[in-house]
Amino acid sequence: MRRVLGELVRYRSAVSGLVIIGFFTALSVYAVIAVPYPEAIRLWRGGEELWQYNPRAARPEWVNWFLREDLPRTLVVEGTSEVWSARPLGGEVREAMGVLSFAYPYRRPPSELGVFLEADYRERMPQVELSWVAPGGPEVRIAEFAVRRREVYRLSSDPRLQQELGGRPEVVLFSPPDRPEEAVQGQYALRVRAYLFEPDSEVRVRLVVYGEVHGLAGTDHLRRDLSLALLWGTPVAMAFGLVASVGSSVSTLVIAALGAWYGGWVDGLIQRITEVNLILPGLPILIMIATLYSRSLPVMVGVVILLGIFGGGIKTYRALFLQVKESPYIEAARAYGASGLRIVFLYMVPRAVPILVPQFVTLIPGFVFLEATLSVLGLGDPLLPTWGKVIEDAYRAGALYVGQYYWVLEPASLLMLAGLGFTLLGFALDRIFNPRLREL
């Protein structure tokens, strides 16, 4: 073991492979600890409520490092009628005035504007009037409506407002008329005038100025934070690759050894099953099982292993074991009366480990990509966020057509990197364990 490690360090590719694998392992551990499984599923599938303050299809924040001008971030400004100046209008009616003021430092208009209102009342809904003040500009009336307990007013999707302003509200309200698409920097304000008809009635207002960048990884078409999916995709990909690869290669090895040792009909049967399995189209079978039976990850892993057990590797191993079977130390074991199973598991299988280890490492990326392939076809686990699923979402939402490249590139580069790490390590291991290759 130490010898192997010592030799590994001599290969630069192996070291970089190990570094990459180490990074992904650490990330998986972090993901599982930082965002426990139920929490991850809640955050990913929770619903609009959880994501409503995120911008839609926003690029990751780090793109600002590469741009001459910063893309706007999301701003959330809050206010409550409790602290606003209120004056009684006779009876139980009060008028409360509030200003939600914020500095806007970006030169591009925001991507969307939304006002989230909450009201306390018993019978009569409070009435609000909203108006907008741009730096050095006049006050522009925006809307007037009664507030239910929870009200979301999206300026950007109000057709009446759009018609009145003569353009998209989030652009017109931020840009001077002569230079559209270029925002004026400075202090903006949303003025709120609320009419409260009951003594303990109250209104809370939250203005969200949606930006064009969000978080480490950006968001998707549902405003979901992609960093969660990318983070949680890591342990899923690692686990799927590792379990499927170890499961199928170890079982293949054992079955090949059993066949070689017992020979006769056992061997014949194993050979026939292998041939049938080679004729069976693997991916279509997987797709059928995913569509017709179940799409959960454990089931898929099981099927992948089942299909992999009798893979092409059996023939290679069998040839090796047939040689091993004739070697003197096996004969010695037989002479002192070791049982068949003992010989198979303690004497024959370990002999194949040098072939097995590099092979299972090289197999891992294939399975990682297989999971992604199934996800891209829409057959991924229905609950878990995975890299492949992010690609599928992006593909379905036409991310490539509208230029949201980050959405595809992020999961794709993670996949690529993970695949590369295992392949590099596998190739190097292959050279160490099978020195004959080194001369070539």
Binding site: R272, V276, I279, G282, L283, Y293, T373, Y401, Y405, L437
Partner: protein, 339 residues
């Protein structure tokens, strides 16, 4: 004989899976019951009958309908009938899908789709084969050179499947540069004239073919190179080289010739192997081929189409293996059929 047996078992297993072990039959029965109940409730004559007579009539209608679809027999028997029909290439009728001209014949649907798949994958495979062998031969003679090291270093590029590169290619050449189409097989509407049509198809082929080449070429060159190196370290090659034979002759007669059986096997099996990869690639590129049809058929649980596509695949594999045996005997006199 053994080949035939494995093909039969393979096809039978597919039939079992595609029918969900008989569960699809139950779905169909439920559908029939619902349809008949609906038809009965809409039919004036039946509605006017007394309840017990009406029930009998409805039950009779269900029975006739099930009999028509062969559902009155147990699934085990039905699966064997499926198998017999499949082996005789009596592919029957699709349940939901139709061919381009609206035919329900599975044979027609598959034939429609076979062309595009063959066009894309056979062309690419042939191209790949010749390019990789030629490159590998060059490299094996100059092994250890910077170019050779580069190929060895690039070999891990073959890990991702073709669709993965496909997405990147679409991103660069279709979305960003806008040089090539996003997918499909011809422009819509298809251009007039044979040449314009061919040019349009060719333009649509570049990206999917490029994706296949990207994913297959590095590993193919790498493994062929290693393979040729093994051959060129044989004594008789050294002898020939010592005799001063020119390089090309050496390559042709002393390296390529003994390697021919392996080359052939790999080419033929690779040709068929790429077809399974076709499912995702064709879906990503919207290529109207067999793979995408199979995927759609699975989505619609259209068993006859699934079974038909699988049989096509299994038969092609079996035929290839058989032809390979024959080809071996021709290219390599040391091998004799049955020996």
């Amino acid at each position: 004989m053994a080949l035939f047996f494995t093909t039969v078992v393979g096809i039978y297993l597919t039939i079992l899976v595609a029918n969900m072990g008989g569960y699809v039959d139950q779905i169909k029965r439920a559908e029939i019951r619902e349809q008949v109940a609906l038809a009965a409730s809409l039919n004036e004559q039946i509605r006017r009958l007394p309840p017990e007579v009406r029930e009998r009539v409805v039950a009779e209608m269900i029975r006739v309908e099930e009999r028509r679809l062969g559902l009155d027999r147990p699934f085990l028997v039905r699966s064997l009938i499926y198998l017999r029909d499949a082996l005789l290439l009596r592919l029957g009728f699709a349940e939901r899908m139709t061919s381009d001209v609206g035919s329900r014949l599975v044979r027609q649907i598959l034939l429609d789709r076979l062309g595009p798949t063959l066009l894309l994958f056979a062309t690419t495979s042939i191209f790949l084969f010749f390019v990789s062998v030629a490159m590998a031969l060059r490299l094996s003679r100059r092994y250890g050179s910077p170019l050779d090291r580069l190929v060895v270093a690039l070999a891990p590029l073959s890990t991702p499947p073709a669709w993965f590169y496909g997405i990147f290619l679409i991103l660069i050449f279709a979305a960003w540069l806008r040089w090539l189409p996003f997918g499909g097989m011809v422009d819509a509407p298809p251009p007039e004239g044979r040449w314009a049509y061919a040019a349009s198809v060719l333009k649509h082929m570049i990206l999917p073919a490029g994706a296949i080449v990207l994913t297959s070429l590095p590993l193919a060159v790498y493994s062929w190179r290693t393979f040729f190196l093994l051959f060129s370290s044989e004594d008789y090659v050294d002898l020939a080289r010592a005799k001063g034979l020119p390089g090309p002759l050496l390559e042709r007669r002393y390296i390529l010739r003994p390697a021919l059986p392996t080359l052939l096997t790999n080419f033929a099996l690779g040709l068929i192997g790429t077809w399974t990869g076709a499912i995702v690639l064709e879906t990503v590129f919207n290529w109207p081929g067999l793979g995408r049809t199979l995927y759609q058929a699975v989505g619609l649980a259209d068993t006859p189409v699934i079974v038909g596509a699988t049989i096509l695949y299994a038969y092609l594999l079996a035929i290839t293996v058989f032809l390979l045996d024959v080809a071996y005997a021709i290219v390599d006199p040391r091998v004799r059929v049955g020996g």
